[in-house]
Amino acid sequence: MKCDHCDKDATVHELSVHNGVKIERHLCEQCAEQFGISVRPQQQITDLIKHYVMKQGLTPVVPPMAQPMRANQCPACKTTYQDFKQHGLLGCSDCYKSFEGQLMPLVERAHDGGQTHVGKTPLRASRANTEVDDIAIRALREHRMERLRVLRHELDQAIRDERYEAAARLRDQLRQVESEGGVA
């Protein structure tokens, strides 16, 4: 099948319904791109961020406890949220605090709902770096409790179903999570 707009083969097919009328479009990759239909399956990660952030629009979500109210610029490195939108990259470690409110939805989406760090901790994270944030710690703990709950449930299930290999694995995971709790 040929593209509706040029002579190339149509590889993108779109079906939309407007006021009860079916509209079919058959386009080649280039034309589809011109019409704003994305066809590339493997988007660059920065594109993904850009598109995602662009969709969020310009209205910043005001963080609940934004300390410096100039939420659109990082006081430490002068990166603006606009800069981040453009490149998908932050300017310094303080950016995470400066743009926390705006970043969180994006971070959660990128990480399958993950909100707080779980896993390796630097042995000697300098004190300045780790000003303890009560909310973060609480969230971390809640997250851990939730994981423990899920794991215990799965373990019970596995034992009931006599899936002993899975059960052994789950038991190890449980131990792991429990021991992480000791550190946090």
Binding site: Q42, Q44, G91, H111, G114, H117, R124, T130, A139, Q176
Partner: protein, 400 residues
Amino acid sequence: MSDAPDMSGDKPKPGDEGEKPKPPPNPQSTPSTSASAGSVPVLDFGAEWLRGEGELSDVLLSSRVRLARNLAGRLFATKATRRDRQATLDISREWLMRAELVPQLIWVDLHASSPLDRALLVERHLISKNHSKGKGTNPNDDPRGVAISVPDERLSIMINEEDHLRIQAIRSGLALTHAWSDIDSIDDKIESQLDYAYSPRFGYLTACPTNVGTGVRMSAMLHLPALRLTGELEKVKRAAQDMSLAVRGFYGEGSEAVGDLFQISNQTTLGKSEQQIVQDLEGDILPKVVEYERLARRELLAKRRVGLEDQVWRAWGALAHARLMNTDEAMQALSLVRLGVTMGLLRTPSDFPDLRTVNQLMLLVQPAHLQRAVGRELDQEQRRVARASLLRAKLGRSKS
């Protein structure tokens, strides 16, 4: 299975002569050497991940773990000035080369390297394409480097990539647990001297929020020709994407899947511990994908044996006799030959290459490797001639 890290003592195979590059400039004398511009001493095929050994290595070539780390109190790449970057480079280099992280570590200043050397490192998966290009317009004016463990090439540490440090560990076969424990202890050693940017909430802070948290990416390089031939590849890709895994080509982000080689890796780095990612991939997902490919291979053998044999032998014929060969064609043929070797379709071992030779050839036919082997720069047309003649020398019966 031997696990000797030092591969340099291997006897050369017949046909090796002539392609061997000049030996590295005597790296034995000091524990750590700096490579001068114009000669990156990493071509004696120590690369451990090419061995074609290890668990599931008929399908799964190598396991890789990389960590993204930034130094505390220093601007990330986008905001760092040239001077900032030079300082990051100096501090990191100074310390890394003194730390005795591995028996032998070499250092390469990428801003002082030739384009060919940089391309060579990219082809060997020791630096990324972005690192090769550098920041800004002039690749020779952006301070950045890489430390590489030799001769095994198991460890490489890029300085001033997207993050200050990108540490990677590679192993042959399914070995994420090993690769993770390698890199974990290296990371501890580095961290004992250099402060990392870290927050209890977000974990290791990275320039791109998609890496924040553990900053870890674990991936496996898989050879999936039978899934392609049976049209099952899309299913695997979709399943992987459903599990938040990325499927990429031989050369990572945005690259084509040449030679039926694919990388599968985690994308989630926040809210999941490193151990959990290892377990998900090594204990569950990767063995399943391997089993699926093996199943497809058995299916092919049972139902389309002659057709398959024909494809494999034609590929062999092209590699052993063609006079002109471009990279993609060579990779496609090598993929089929690799399939033939693992399935025992190319039978007599004395005449046919082992897995390791095929793996190595997949690298040797790449443009920079080819030019390095020949010892001079070649245009595209010359490369096609040189590539065909190299393959004939390696695989053809008559060494003409």
